[in-house]
């Protein structure tokens, strides 16, 4: 074992399909470099499993640089692991110590059913988006940007809300499995801009209705989502959505 490398005990959730029960299975891994990412450690383990003719652990991943929102692991009871402001793929093994036991579970929510092992079905987010997470514009040449003056603070707040990658860490972290932070970010990014005002009323009503229909819990303002969000989406967005929703119900 080269200097600084680690031996770890992994306890990983294995589940063949959504309809079968799953359980935590223990896997010892040896000689893990502290410079590996958490997912690279999984790649090493999976290669060992394949070599032994065992089924590899299924987990979601794509860009591996924290922007696609695919990776989704609850590591030792925390969405995306022990660090804040990063996704699972940005977590490195130097955040752990030699001899550690690491428990890895999928996002747990009624609205995120397990597909296999650590992979969950997050299409509920897409159905919420489809209810209003867009603006309707006619095709044609884009108008001159200076025709629509937008205060810098609004533009920044909208951009910060739009930074949401839809990974679902907010749902995974929330004690009520509530999707409020996600939906609030998607509502806010348009609510702050003149382009979003046209459909503001129906947008918030329809997206909230879909969020409720998907079986997400409701918000009890514990603030855990904001802490665990890899993109630092602020709770102010939830308040903005509450406000938008109240106004939308008053006027229509």
């Amino acid at each position: 074992m080269s200097h600084g490398n680690m031996n770890l005990t992994l306890k990983i959730w294995r589940q063949n399909s959504g309809s079968e029960p799953g359980q935590l299975v223990t896997y010892p891994v040896k000689d893990i470099s502290p410079d590996m990412s958490f997912l690279e450690m999984f790649d090493v383990l999976n290669e060992q499993l394949v070599a032994k003719n065992e089924s590899p652990i299924v987990f979601d991943h794509d860009c591996r640089e924290g922007i696609c929102g695919m990776c989704s692991m609850v590591i030792n009871g925390r969405a995306h692991g022990p660090k804040t402001g990063i996704t699972t793929c940005q977590l490195h093994m130097r955040s752990f110590k030699d001899g550690d036991t690491i428990v890895v579970e999928p996002w747990r929510a009624q609205a995120f059913p397990v597909i296999k092992d650590l992979t969950v079905d997050r299409s509920s987010f897409e159905r919420i988006q489809a209810k209003g997470g867009f603006i309707s514009v006619n095709t044609g040449t884009a108008q001159d940007a200076n025709c629509l003056p937008i205060p810098k603070d609004d533009a920044d707040a909208s951009f910060n809300a739009a930074a949401c990658i839809g990974c679902g860490a907010c749902v995974a972290t929330c004690k009520n499995a509530s999707a409020m932070l996600f939906v609030a970010a998607k509502v806010s990014q348009f609510a702050l801009l003149p382009q979003g005002k046209v459909e503001a009323t129906t947008r918030v009503k329809n997206m909230v209705a879909q969020m409720d229909a998907e079986g997400f819990g409701s918000c009890t303002n514990t603030g855990a989502c904001e802490v665990e969000c890899p993109k630092g989406i602020s709770l102010e967005n939830i308040a903005r959505m509450n406000r938008e929703y109240l106004v939308a119900n008053c006027v229509s």
């Binding site: 306890k11 959730w13 935590l24 609850v74 030792n76 009871g77 925390r78 428990v103 579970e105 747990r108 929510a109 009624q110 609205a111 209810k131 209003g132 309707s136 972290t173 004690k175 009520n176 499995a177 509530s178 459909e199 009323t201 129906t202 947008r203 009503k205 329809n206 909230v208 209705a209 969020m211 409720d212 079986g215 997400f216 819990g217 409701s218 918000c219 009890t220 303002n221 514990t222 603030g223 855990a224 802490v227 665990e228 709770l235 102010e236 939830i238 308040a239 903005r240 959505m241 509450n242 406000r243 938008e244 929703y245 109240l246 119900n249 229509s252």
Partner: protein
Amino acid sequence: MSNSSPSFLKSSLGKKFIMGFTGLFLISFLVVHVCINACIYFNDSGETFNMAAHFMSHNIIIRVVEVGLFIGIILHIVQALIIIMHNNKARPQKYAVQNQAVSSKWYSRSMGLLGTLLLMFLIVHLANFWVPTKIAVYTGKEQNSFEELKEVFANPIILVVYLLGIVSLFYHLLHGFQSAFQSFGLNHKKYTPFIKSFGFWYSLLICLVFASMPITLYLGLIK
């Protein structure tokens, strides 16, 4: 985009709005309650306190508001139960390992438990004071509320029950006060720090004054 949403009050956001609204209503009631309690500190053998208590139990406007208060409490409890049952269904499979302490305060996650303790306390509290007062009002009997107070708080078990009730109230308010504003959509960089610190000092002050009453009476500091 067509509109196909259910009514406001049936939505998850609407339910939270009712929780916040009834919560703030109950919070405003606490101010009245604590002010009347504080009348014992005139230290005039309960003369001022009895006057205030008589006003509260006989004034027609207060009696009407009292009905509103009970409706508020019941709505707050019923909505809480509906929300808790809904939230429990949102995560049927629990985590094997949970590390919630790093991302949220324990009392913000324990509002249901704190509320249940408060309800149990409330039942004891109503049985101690509200029920005898009602009986006195309806039978037309002259009542010395201050003497009743001293009698009840002479019991150390009652004293402990009240202090535990007040601790539950403190933590319930600590989260509930600022949470209500968030549910109403009132979150602003400029005002939220004020709302949060006001909520903290409000919770602390109200609970300290509430706690001081049974303690001073038990110790016989107020006669």
